[in-house]
Symmetry: C2
Subunit: 400 residues, 2 copies
Amino acid sequence: MVYINENFNKLTPSYLFATVAEKRAAYEAANPQAKVISLGIGDVTQPLCPAVIQAMQKAVQEMGQPETFQGYGPYQGYDFLIEAILANDYAPRGVQLGKDEIFVSDGSKSDSGNIGDLFSPTAVVAVSDPVYPVYIDANLLAGRTVRRLPCSEADGFCPAPPHWHADIICLCSPNNPTGAVFSKQQLAAWVAYAQQEKAVILYDAAYKAFITNPALPQSIYEIPGAETCAIEFCSFSKTAGFTGTRCAWAVVPKALQAQQADGASVSLNELWYRRQSTKFNGAPYIVQRGAVAIYTPEGQKQVQETIAYYLQNAKIIREALLSLGFECTGGENSPYIWLKTPSGQTSWQFFDLLLNELNIVGTPGSGFGEQGEGYFRLTAFASRQATEEAAQRFRAYFGR
Amino acid sequence: MVYINENFNKLTPSYLFATVAEKRAAYEAANPQAKVISLGIGDVTQPLCPAVIQAMQKAVQEMGQPETFQGYGPYQGYDFLIEAILANDYAPRGVQLGKDEIFVSDGSKSDSGNIGDLFSPTAVVAVSDPVYPVYIDANLLAGRTVRRLPCSEADGFCPAPPHWHADIICLCSPNNPTGAVFSKQQLAAWVAYAQQEKAVILYDAAYKAFITNPALPQSIYEIPGAETCAIEFCSFSKTAGFTGTRCAWAVVPKALQAQQADGASVSLNELWYRRQSTKFNGAPYIVQRGAVAIYTPEGQKQVQETIAYYLQNAKIIREALLSLGFECTGGENSPYIWLKTPSGQTSWQFFDLLLNELNIVGTPGSGFGEQGEGYFRLTAFASRQATEEAAQRFRAYFGR
């Protein structure tokens, strides 16, 4: 028989969100009258905004006419989208990047996983603990050693560079699941570490649209020198509600070099171009036209309204929790609230309590790593009505 | 510095289609009056059909309303599409597959490359020669040994199982670039080989919609036993013009097992499910609604008309070539015509002659492998007008 990649055996047998879904389904089957509110899965609920809808309608029409039909697109994405990304996401933050440093894709989940094709299996990867499980799984599948950077309340859930060597560092800011956001100084320390260790930072900025504090960095390239040591992943999923529409981009700067065993220097930008042109065929034309529409004045106004809607949800949840004596981070500059479970309960005990007593689904922090034990994640993506109802249930139960 | 995947050094420095594009661009820059006709790139030219356009318009509207908005889709794709694939592509051919054996994706190019995640780097891969370069490149990137199965006129460009052992076999039928189509007997020989060698066939059926001869198999699963030894890749790209819209599926049967080093048996269906749920987030809802629309009566009628249009182009090219004394395969049951260059010219010599003397762009066969030297590929995807003009230019030049 053909031999499989045995690294699959290293993955945890049970997938966190599948287990949450099963427990919810079992509860609902046993309690059909219950009105379960989900603040669990990190999926958006608000529809795509009108500017995006109109742009995609126009693009669909174009695909039906011979003069405007689009076949295979450019490997790195259409210029109209790349130029808009540079002009809106980077230039105003003082970041200068070239068109050939942006690679449009179908999602940061794909990019985070596939970027591993560029690196040797021997690269040592540092990830936060707690962390979104996908960063770990993709690297375990490649046979890499993954080391944790434990985070805690003491460091505001923002890990500092370790005393040990890593080749690749996965950072996510604003963070999933903790909602913590790196300051410029904290990011600068990571850039210094990466330059000193000749390592590469994989910087996931999927939630950057939720940052309201102008002092907080949105792109790692706001830190001088980051272009020599960091790849950045950005996504339209949470910025514009594209979880079911799929569009994102990776930044691979030309200044980013890695090494061969013989000491020769290699451009990661060229390697990513080769990988994508070999194993990918672009995001759909219709979707790229939808994505670029968020950069028009109407588009900007509309996506900001939706972001503000979710941020207000986050505020409602956060304020309810704080008023009840919970300790939490996130919920400001982030759609996730990370709270400490009361009375020393484990994460799953608190999950069961919330599901059974409040009919609320959240995500147990222990599912994100050892440092997540005793913590719990709630999301701000539900409807306003569901969010206010959830806050009321918290007050009714914990306010006694 | 972080160490790269050194297998990138194994890829050919020049990418075939990029070189073709550069030579065309250089010619057009020097000869701005020339009316260059491209029968080179395998990209469709006819727009998406009305049934698909209408379905996507409706889906775009749904994405703009809270009640019908779709976020993250099911990992394997929406049931409405999977069920239509089973009912239309498999059941009528006598093939019974389960819903959980179909995995919707963004393209066969992605699937062909990413399927490698399931296999050990030590697996030996057999590919045809000539062959679409991507099968080779993706395996070289993974560090695998790739061995060629030389094809020739003598075997009608349909390779037979070799006398040596392979773990993975990449087959494409109808073939890119030769247009050759396996008969049931030929495929049965491959299934027997794979079962005997305990190997896995990766069967690329991207061009199956062009098969008009009902005796020819469209799916490898029409061969009894194939479900134990084959993965099949199918795509909406050439069937429905989705090259810029991106939708495809992989079939990974539950009966397909592979082995661990300790002898334990592993389900490739479970591994692919895990790989896709870890490193992919689905094809867009809008695109899946567009894809399923080809299975309505109007959709079927419309895509068949477009396929017939391209097949008529292929007939025009093929008949012109045959009447001029060229030897060629393909062009029947396939959108590619594979012709022998005249007078012992090399593939690139013939490329230059066609470009300079006839202002026609094709693809030199040598770009697909050693066995492609002395051959040339033309595609049937251009407009009818361009195709007839090209045929006329052939007659004018070679008919003298």
